[in-house]
């Protein structure tokens, strides 16, 4: 029975990411850094974006373009995105200068970088589905760019239906999965020690 794929998967999971690593109650001293506060702030902003986005999806543009409550939630969604990018870029800059891919942590760095790219795509489609003059301007400028590189017929920025579905379904799913894997990798590999840390002073290196 131990040959079953479920048992293999369970054994691999328990070996590589036991519950003590997944939900730790202690961290090395060097985790006490503002750079990680900005990582958590990024996650908080993402949670607010998803929460406000779900409300917008249920209520629709006739609500969020006209009513006071709708305009408030619409603005909450928009400004959460602005803060999300500021927090994420500060976290990314910090991790770049820490060379956070050291110690077998390439997957942690790479998932973070790919999450940044996926966020740009998600935000871009969001700008295109505002259904106002701003989105009309952006889409008509962008179509020339996408046509010039030959993908305009496949990724049609002036197609509101396509952009809306990509923005509310496909891209958030991709971004959510990458972000989830990124956090799992942080738990699995641990946070990268400082560059000048002596081996003996670094706890849980490469755990």
């Amino acid at each position: 029975m131990s040959e079953m794929w479920t048992a293999k998967l369970r054994n691999k999971w328990q070996k590589e990411l036991p519950i003590e690593k997944l939900l730790p109650d202690d961290q090395p001293a060097y985790v006490a850094s503002w750079i990680y506060v900005f990582g958590v702030l990024t996650l908080a902003a993402l949670a607010m974006i998803i929460f406000s986005g779900i409300i917008l999806a249920f209520q629709g543009p006739a609500w969020y373009h006209t009513s006071d409550n709708g305009k408030f939630v619409n603005s909450l969604h928009f400004w959460s995105v602005q803060l999300f990018f500021v927090f994420m870029v500060v976290h990314l800059w910090g991790k770049f200068w820490m060379a956070a891919w050291r110690g077998n942590r390439f997957a942690t760095w790479a998932t973070g970088a790919v999450a940044f790219i996926a966020s740009i795509a998600t935000a871009f489609t969001g700008y295109l589905v505002q259904t106002n003059f701003d989105s009309q301007w952006i889409s008509f400028e962008a179509k020339d760019g996408f046509n010039s590189v030959g993908v305009g017929a496949w990724f049609t920025v002036t197609n509101l239906g396509q952009m809306l579905l990509l923005h509310v379904a496909f891209l958030p799913l991709i971004l959510g999965v990458i972000t989830f894997v990124h956090v799992l990798m942080v738990r699995k590999r641990g946070v990268v020690p400082p560059i000048d840390a002596h081996e003996s002073s670094v706890s849980e290196v490469g755990r």
Partner: protein, 55 residues
């Protein structure tokens, strides 16, 4: 949108231009703000508790 915010926002962006390089004042302000926040995140010491441990 009403009041001073409308007056502040309802006009075309101001651009700075030097040869081939062009940037809106708004984008420049946002970039400088982010660099300032990053510098603060690196330079401001993380709070410590009474025993000297980082919180």
């Amino acid at each position: 949108m009403t009041g001073w915010i409308a007056d502040f926002m309802n006009h075309p962006a101001t651009y700075l231009k030097s040869g081939w390089f062009q940037i809106s004042v708004t984008n420049l302000v946002v970039i400088l703000l982010m660099l300032t926040i990053f510098a603060c995140a690196v330079l401001i010491p993380f709070p410590k508790d009474k025993d000297g441990h980082k919180k």
